[in-house]
Amino acid sequence: MEYMKDLHEVEELLNFWNWPANGTWEMYVGNVHLTFNPTTLIMTWITMLLVIIFCVAATRKMSMTRPKGAQNILEIVWEFIRGLVNENMDPRKGAALLSVVVTYFIFILFANLIGLVPTLSSPTADYNTTLGLALCTFAMIYIFGIRYKGLGYFKHYVKPFVFFLPINILEDFAKPITLTFRLYGNIYGGEVLIAVLLGLIGGWAHVFGGFLASVTWLAFSIFVGCIQAFIFTMLSIAYVGQAVADH
C-alpha cells in the first residue's frame, strides 16, 4: 500500500500558503521565551477582520422599521441569544452579559466555519485560542458573582455542607477546562480527519489544499461547527446564571 501516506507528510503537503511552521515566531518578554503558532495567529486575524466587516455592514444605515440584509441576520442572532439569557437569569443582570455572549457566538461560528474553506484552517483548532475564550468566561463568572453578591459570593463553596468544599473547587476548575477541550476536540478532530482521509486517497488528492476530502466531510463539519458555537455560548450563559442566581 505505497500510496498510503503518513500523517506528517500529509500535513506538509496541505501547507498551501507556505506559512511558517509552529513555533517559528518568537518573542522575549523579560526573561520569558514565548513561541507562537503563525497559522493560528494569521487565521485569527482573518477571522477578526471578517467579523468586523460583517458587523459594520449590518449596522450602517440602520433602519428601525424596514431592516434589510445583514442587519436582519444580526437582529435574528441578537434576539435568539437574548431569549437564552432571559431564560437563565434576571434580564436586568443579563443585560451586561448580552454583548459579550453575542460576540462569543459570532466569533466562534465564523472561526469554526472558516476552517472548512479548502486551504485555510480554524483558529479554534488550537487549544490556545479556546483556552483564551474559556478563561474569559471563567473571569466573567467571578466578576458577575462578586458584582451582584459582594464577597458573600464565596459562600457558595461551602453550600450545601462544609465537606463539599473540595468538590465545589473542582467544579469551578472543571468549567473552563471542559469548555476548552470540548471546542478544541471537536474542531481539531474534524481537521485531522480531513488529513487522514487524504492520506488514504493518495495521488493528486492534496491539490488545492485537500479539496476532495473536505467535500466528503463538509456537511457534518458545518453542523458540528454551528452546534459547538451554540453550546459554548449556552454554557457560558448557564454558568454566569448559576453565579448570580438567588434562591
Binding site: L7, T178, F181, G189, I227, F230, I231
Partner: protein
C-alpha cells in the same frame, strides 16, 4: 510489545470505548426527548434546545478520546 503496536492498540481502544459511551448516552437522551415531544408537542422548541445542549455535553469526553487517538495514530 513495540511502540508502534502499542500505539495502534491504544488508539483503537480509545476511539472504540469513547464511541460506545457516546452512542449509549446520546441514544438515551434522544429517546427521552422524543417521548417528551410526543407527549406535549407544544414544548418542542424547549425540548429540542435541551437535547442539543445535552448531546454537546455528552460528546465532550469521547471527542477528547478521539483527539488522543489521532495523536497516538501519528506514532504508529
Amino acid at each position: 510489545m513495540e511502540i508502534g503496536a502499542g500505539a495502534a492498540l491504544g488508539a483503537a481502544i480509545a476511539v472504540g470505548l469513547g464511541a460506545l459511551g457516546a452512542g449509549i448516552g446520546n441514544g438515551l437522551v434522544t429517546s427521552q426527548s422524543v417521548a417528551g415531544i410526543a407527549r406535549q408537542p407544544e414544548a418542542r422548541g424547549n425540548i429540542m434546545t435541551l437535547m442539543f445542549i445535552s448531546v454537546g455535553l455528552i460528546e465532550a469526553l469521547p471527542i477528547i478520546g478521539v483527539v488522543i487517538a489521532f495523536m497516538l495514530f501519528g506514532k504508529v
